[in-house]
Amino acid sequence: MRNQPSPSNCRSLLAVVCSAWIGWAGLFGTIVWGQDSKTLAFQTAMAGHVRDVAQSILDSVVTIEVVGVSPTSGEVRQDAPTAGVIVDADGLVLTSAQVTRGESASILVVLPDGSRVAANVLGRDEHRELVLLELALADDAPPLKSIDLSSTQSTAASLTVGQTLVAVARYGSGGSPMVSSGILSAVERLEGIAIQTDARISPAFYGGPLLNLNGDVAGILIPATGGAGGQDPSAWYDSGVAFAVPSDVISDKLIRMRRGESIRAGRLGFVVGGKDPYAPGTKLAAVRVRSPAEAAGLQVGDEIIQVGGRAVTRRQEIKLALGPFDAGDAVDIEFRRKDQTQTVVVKLVESIPPLQPVLLGLIASNDAASDDSAAVSPPENGQQADDPPDSGGIVLGGTLDDSPAAEALRTGDRVLRLDGAEIADEESLRQQLWTADPDAPMEIQFVRGDEPMTIELSPQRIEGEWRTKQMTSVELELSTSIPSDASWDIAALRLPEVVNAAALLSPITDDESGVDPRRRGLLVWLLPPSEREPEQALQQWREPAKKAGVPVLMIASANEGRWRPLESEAVTSLSTAARRRCEADSAAIVIAGPAVLADGDQPGPADSMAIAVALSTGKAFSGLAVASPTRPPAVRLPSDGGLRMLRVLFPIGNADQLPPWSSRLTELGFPIQTHAPVDQRTLLNWVQSLLVL
């Protein structure tokens, strides 16, 4: 019960109860409770005002129809009519990417007078889901009324969370005006490109304007979901979570779109270290070859301090600060290198040449095998852990036969630096190898006994034929001292809210008779939809799995008859749970479809599903093994921008037999390995080979 001090002639109206109008608190500053008799007056005024705001722009709001789009399985029809705004009286209409989501025979714009005009796409902002349409207007067409986005005062600075916003569109065959009101929920959403509103936004509003109560365009509504939103960008319609691209940003981008350009997100090409994006720390773990970051002189180990003038202390903050920048934009990066602070200007690019990940042939010692800890235990010769050169780095358990490191390094060597950059842990070394220049020799600094040494090695590309011969030593190194009585067993794996039947074949970790000490990966095997008994299917894997030291997780589809795309979440959760249970190394989690084996059936739904899961689920999997004739599913790749270290095994004799869609894998920087034939043993060995650095 607070009273707003105000001139007496205003008090009556100011005394407003907003029990149902909490959202308008931002507008009022102070809300007076208990004198609700004036609420009606307020609501009546507000309703009229909402109409006035809508009317003020309605002459520039159009409906956009797409014709001849093939139907999809999503809830929102691919050819749903949406909205657009006339931004140039000569016939330019700004709308959302919803109109270009499916291939269409024609795009029609329904003008405010009800007439239909054909339109074609002039420019796109793929980064912000916007499309600029050019209308094919007749010479004698009546003039259009356009809005000037650059003249609105609705800059990011003038937006206040809590302020009332009104979405405007047209509905139905008569083009009736349609509004939806709400408040500004947040700014700088979707990695800094959008503002968020709680107005219920159904698909008819996509592409339409979102205005403040001054009638200024705050933004253009786009179909989008947050990070966890799934495949369909319109899945959050009417949910109270909707996004719009702010108008001040759009007016800037319109200049390029009018020239017919396509705007895309900008890439820098560095990888910030650490597993947790929210943990403090902004040191670079890798700088990609031929990337803007490399060209600007950024190096592994540099600590990023500011991006585009914004201070950053965590990986996630760097991502947010870079979010609004497009390819072609220049961004200031301030960083610290050896107590020196420097600033470089980096010009972002649309795409960086695909990665060509390499390996050296290093096998970290069993003792270093701790997935969730970067700590490296001290070597057994009793050196002091607090002696800097003797701690950190990676202690070798061996090297891969016939690999670059084979002759040069030995068991017990402690590798400290790669090309001058300190090696914090296996993960960061892996990232460096994944982003390195495959043609440049690498300088390795290591300690042997007490003696610091340096050698130069030429790395080997991961891509290409996978040679099992090399694996003999891996098996040896990773398989040392198996207690003969270490027992392996099959157990059902059940998770709450996961209906898929699953079973895990793994060593019993709390067994008194002896724990299997080997470092291990994990093979995740998807059963054909007709097979319903994972426990039974695992029986034939008992011997090979124990011998190779690789646990196997077998998952059946939820329904007999098919695998559905939605189940990829269940597969991921089961795999993560299995990885924890059998203490597998996250660098060697492989998902496979049954047709990969030489004696397997023709590729089916389980094989396509394996591809879908591997490509769509972030970083849960580091390997994918599928038969090459498998039909690739439609997958929306996660755009988290992080480094995905996934490699693919095809059971074919040579690269000529690669499926056509594999070129997409190469573009994504996923190295392809081939080997034929693949049996249980080779597949399990391949899983273990992912541990090699």
Binding site: N9, L13, V17, L27, R51, L213
Partner: protein, 361 residues
């Protein structure tokens, strides 16, 4: 009566306060110059909270058939007379005589007295004797349009059956997004209604919400919430209400007794050979195996009045000479009171279409 009295009061010329008197404030409130020059009448009305909660007392919950195969056995309605007439959406829930629960938990059996298939409107009636002479709060059907697009509205419904026992129906707030023709997809969720609706910006049309009341900030009836439907063009769920102005005529006719679908038992049964029956009309119905088997046509005799009227197998007979044929027994009873030389007017449902046909002997 509270709602009515208040509604009546609203029609009095209330003391109007010009907006200009509060201009500095309004400019502050809506932070705009757009309001300037618009003279909006602001009247000193009672609080919205009061009006809306009063409106809540005239809303009811309805329980009937369903409960199988994912169909809810409940929906919503609202009182339209002090004598216990309840307007609601016509649906399978009404396949058995529905139970109506008032806002205070009082529970009544009802009869379907009115039915307007083209609007998907049904009117139920609580037995007056059971009310014991007490009048109930009710919504007056407005004779002028009381809301337009942009207005703030409240949806009062038994959505998801949240309100149990003597809990009153839930109230949700939003805005009228648009007034436009209903353009719903045909298919699983069907409606014969093709007229104008208020499209809403709140998620009002949930399971159990059909038949609920949409009111304005004054607590006046704006419309009746429709069934769950998907928009034909976008494929998404629609949120809409059928305007009260469209319901007014049919509801008025039913209240005034000008139109009733109750079986007419005033006319005497005629002797066999003089009255209509299924054979004279050429109608074959699906087997009458339940207590209330719906009147679905199974076959049509060649050359019969039914064939002449273009009836088809699978048509559902709803009304016979304006009276409801709730089940096959009711149809036979109606026919037995009609002279076989007279025409028979039927209202049938074919798919989602409502058709009027006349069978000529």
């Amino acid at each position: 009566m509270e709602v009515t009295r208040r509604a009546a009061m609203h029609r009095q010329p209330a003391r109007a306060i010009g907006l200009q008197q509060h201009l500095p404030l309004v400019a502050f409130v809506v932070t705009t110059a757009l309001v300037v020059g618009h003279s909006r009448r602001l009247t000193g009305q009672p609080s919205i909270a009061g009006d809306v909660s009063a409106a809540q007392t005239a809303a009811v919950k309805i329980y009937g058939a369903g409960g199988l195969g994912g169909l809810e056995a409940y929906q919503s309605g609202f009182l339209v007379s002090p004598l216990g007439h309840v307007a609601t959406a016509w649906s399978y829930v009404l396949d058995v005589d529905p139970i109506v629960i008032l806002h205070d938990g009082r529970r009544f059996e009802t009869q379907i007295v009115g039915f307007e298939p083209s609007l998907e409107l049904a009117v139920l009636k609580i037995d007056s004797a059971e009310l014991g002479g007490n009048e109930l709060p009710f919504f007056r059907m407005p004779d002028v349009e009381v809301a337009k697009w942009g207005d703030s509205v409240y949806a009062i419904s038994n959505l998801f059956g949240i309100a149990t026992g003597n809990e009153p129906a839930s109230v949700m707030q939003g805005r009228i997004a648009a007034r436009a023709d209903l353009d719903a997809r045909r298919g699983t969720f069907q409606t014969p209604y093709r007229g104008e609706v208020f499209v809403l910006d709140l998620i009002a049309n949930n399971p159990g919400a059909a038949g609920g009341a949409l009111v304005n900030a004054r607590g006046e009836l704006v419309g009746m919430l429709g069934k769950e439907l998907r928009d034909r063009l976008t494929g998404v769920w629609l949120n809409y209400a059928i305007p009260a102005s469209i319901l007014r005529g049919p509801v008025g006719d039913i209240l005034a007794g000008r139109k009733t679908v109750l079986p007419d038992e005033s006319k005497p049964k005629l002797e066999r050979g003089q009255s209509h029956d299924l054979v004279t009309l050429g109608l074959g119905l699906v087997p009458d195996v339940m207590e209330s088997t719906p009147v679905f046509i199974d076959y049509i005799a060649d050359g019969s009045p039914a064939a002449g009227a273009g009836l088809r197998p699978d048509d559902l007979i709803l009304l016979v000479d304006g009276r409801r044929a709730a089940h096959q027994r009711a149809l036979r009873d109606q026919l037995s009171r009609m002279d076989r030389r007279d025409n028979v007017a039927l209202v049938i449902q074919r798919g989602s279409e409502i058709l009027n046909v006349v069978l000529r002997p």
